[in-house]
């Protein structure tokens, strides 16, 4: 049966691909702490409520197990980031910060990195953590059962220098090496508990695993010996797939934190009992175009499709305006982002003209596949289909289960159009690599010579400014060539009871519950 677990975790590799946008789904709340609707004053004036230390938060899906080395599901890392620590961590602003490692140094050739570990860190089972645990953890992350092994194949040697010092030696230069130690899957685990991390995780993190009843709840309790102890004693994650239930439960005081859709914000607006947090997210949503389709191979047809869609109206309708229009495959919050919205802006006449020019005066028929588990994508797809109909492209919609979508659309690329989302990472290369004509995840079947060149160059380029230029050039090409209709970079909405403070979001998909506390209001 072990084999099955492995297989399934491999399946979930793909889940990282479509992460947000679902009405009932919190993956993809990889956010920057740029609360548009800020709550800072409140946090200043209120003091920590030491009586109230139990927090209830809604999750719409169960985690895919709790072993961070054996899954790629965002739903797992949202929880395991509280149970396990990593060597370094990422701040809400996207900076790398110390965690289990207090300091680090990179060799001059850029090929090896040495970490000095924090003293006195103990696992939840009471044993002290040493450099050997770090070595074991990375070996486990690299072994064949790990879905991330490819990402860490570059690490050639792991050398324990003393019990608090460890060195990683890599094969080739990777300019974003350090970020690889900040992801929640680079968690440090104790060897003795490795067998059953999936159901009984043991780490060094600020919270201990208490109980998990699938589809019901998952309970964490405070790890008192953590170097930066949490304020909360208990965190209950309640599994509630239905938004209506979540909202009602928050209103009934059964929950303290939920994620909501734009239409529900109105329920809480102007109510002093709740705080609404709006966060830009490190993710984008798009309609992918299969460029191998006879008509869609023609750039003019793709451009016509882009011109036919009123993106802002689409965002207003499906996401209630909570999203930032994009013109290329890049989230607005990342520093490499350039605004490409004006490259092709909504113009149906121009769209019709282009279509005619391409030889499709009498129209065109395309098949669109939409993933059933993501209502927002289903809605967006219907609206786009409606708009394409107006320029003479007839779209047949088929709504498919996620599993079917993965196999038929994503893997076999048997589709013309599909609406989906992509989550970002800390390293822009990871986000864009799929546009390389040879890349296995290039489900657009996209092939562009200059794009391939850029994607090769950018890996070796050590000069930050030049790299930035390359990334921006790439964004520009995608905006003009339209391998996908880029829709928006979503803004996630979180509503908390107003006595909840310290809840922030991160550019990678994690929740840090240790900073959350209740105030005396």
């Amino acid at each position: 049966m072990k084999r099955f677990k492995f297989i399934f975790s491999v399946l979930l590799v793909s889940i990282i691909l479509v992460a947000c946008g679902s009405s009932t789904d919190e993956e993809g709340s990889a956010n920057e702490n740029s609360n548009l609707d800020s709550t800072e004053q409140k946090e200043e004036s209120n003091t920590v409520n030491i009586e109230k230390t139990e927090l209830n938060m809604a999750l719409s899906v169960d985690p895919d197990g709790l072993d961070p080395h054996r899954t790629t599901a965002a739903s797992t890392f949202q929880i395991t980031s509280n149970i396990f620590d990593t060597l370094v961590t990422v701040t809400p602003d996207g900076e790398i910060d110390e965690n289990l490692a207090e300091s680090w140094g990179i060799s001059d050739d850029g090929l090896s990195i040495t970490f000095e570990l924090r003293e006195g860190v103990v696992f939840h089972n009471g044993r002290e953590m040493t450099a050997d645990d770090v070595k074991y953890s990375f070996e486990r992350l690299k072994d064949e059962e790990s879905p991330r092994s490819g990402d860490y194949a570059n690490i050639a040697e792991i050398n324990v220098i003393d019990h608090k010092t460890i060195e990683f030696v890599t094969d080739s230069l990777n300019v974003e090496l350090l970020s690889n130690f900040a992801y929640p899957w680079a968690a440090i685990v104790p060897e003795e508990a490795a067998e059953d991390l999936r159901n009984h995780p043991i780490g060094t993190g600020p919270f201990k695993f208490e109980e998990w009843v699938p589809q019901q709840q998952l309970v964490l309790t405070k790890h008192t010996e953590h170097y930066d102890p949490a304020s909360l004693e208990t965190v209950n994650f309640k599994m509630m797939p239905d938004v209506t239930s979540q909202v009602s439960a928050l209103q009934a005081g059964e929950l303290d934190i939920i994620a909501v859709n734009g239409d529900l914000v109105g329920q809480f607006e102007g109510n002093p009992d709740y705080t609404i947090l709006e966060n830009r997210s490190n993710s984008i949503q798009l309609m992918a175009i299969n460029t191998e389709h006879e008509a869609l191979a023609d750039q003019r047809v793709r451009q016509a499709i882009n011109l036919a869609v009123d993106k802002q109206a689409l965002i207003d309708t499906v996401w209630w305006g909570y999203g930032e229009e994009i013109g290329s495959h890049y989230p607005t919050m990342l520093k490499e982002y350039i605004d490409t919205n004006s490259v092709l802006s909504y113009n149906t006449d121009q769209a019709k003209a282009l279509l005619e020019e391409a030889g499709y005066r009498d129209g065109l028929e395309l098949d669109m596949y939409l993933p059933a588990s993501y209502p927002a994508y289903v809605d967006a797809g219907q609206i786009i289909a409606n708009e394409l109909d107006a320029i003479g492209i007839k779209v047949n919609i088929e709504i498919v289960e996620w599993a079917t979508w993965l196999s038929d659309v994503y893997t076999d690329r048997q589709y013309d159009l599909t609406v989906v989302g992509h989550t970002g990472r800390l390293d822009p290369y990871d986000l864009l690599a799929r546009y390389h004509s040879e890349n296995g995840e290039n489900y657009f079947n996209y092939s562009h010579q200059r794009v391939d060149e850029i994607l090769t160059l950018v890996q070796e380029e050590q000069d930050d400014a030049k790299r930035l230029d390359l990334y921006q050039e790439l964004q520009q090409i995608l905006a003009e060539d339209v391998p996908a209709l880029y829709i928006q970079s979503p803004i996630t909405l979180t509503v908390t009871a107003s006595d909840v403070a310290g809840y922030t979001s991160y550019p990678i998909d994690i929740y840090q519950m240790k900073d959350v506390y209740f105030t005396n209001k």
Partner: protein, 318 residues
Amino acid sequence: MLSFIVKRLISGLTVLFFISIITFFVLRWMPGDPATLSLGTEGTPEKIAELQEVMGLNLPWYQQYYHWLQDLFSGDWGSSYVFGEDVMTLIIQRLPVTLLLAAVSMVIVIPFAFIIGIMSALFKERWVDYIARSLMQLGDAIPQFWLALIFLVFFASKLGWFPVAGYVGFDNGILASIHSVLLPAIVLAIGQVGPLIRIIRSSMLSSLEQDYMLMTQVNGLPKTLAIVKYALRGASIAPLTIIGMQLANMLAGAILVENIFALPGIGRLLLMTVEQRDLILLQGMLIFVTSAVVLVNILTDICYRLANPMIRFGGNHE
């Protein structure tokens, strides 16, 4: 009696055999074989072939079926892709919620249906009957998922009489536990009450029309005695026959209701299993659920026999 039980068990086993065949083939015919599905975006033809071999998917169907049955009987029901847990463990974990839901719902339905059904039969064509039959008709016609949504918004969310979602375990007290499933149980009950009232009413009516009721009249027995002792006795058995069906209906209702009320029961697990194509778990659950229905049918048949001297001693002459 013993021979009847043996016969009934054999026929039950035959039913289970057909169920296993249906389940097996339906799941084999599902698009995307388990190996391809499991590998997702990582699937290459080689990897898939390798995995198919490991999973035994390249064997002829009868061998696959045989192996599957073998595992089933040896208690190895496999483990879920999604939860990584043993199928049996998962089912047993979920069962109490659904059982409690079904039990509470039954506790509401049975007395209500009996009272309404009997009154409706006794006061046939009078206002009690009209009300009862209207209730019955409405109960049959209201889509349960719609009712669940409306109840959720109105009673739980707006009025706050019930928890909005989720199940409270027994360790928080049995009353809290019941309270947490009460609203969904009422929704289920409304869906169940129609058929039950109908059968109680009609069996009561037919009992009232039996000649033995004439006998009580000729013997001058008071009406209440005649109804309680004679008519009711005659009418009490027929409802037993639909218990198996009611159970199946209730499980079907639970799929929708548990999902809307976020109750971690069998129904919710089932829908998730279908949605996520957790084939091993789905297989296990289908076998479990249908076996439960078959078993309940067998038990009610046996009880029916025991409770009904008409059949128990029947057949020796005509």
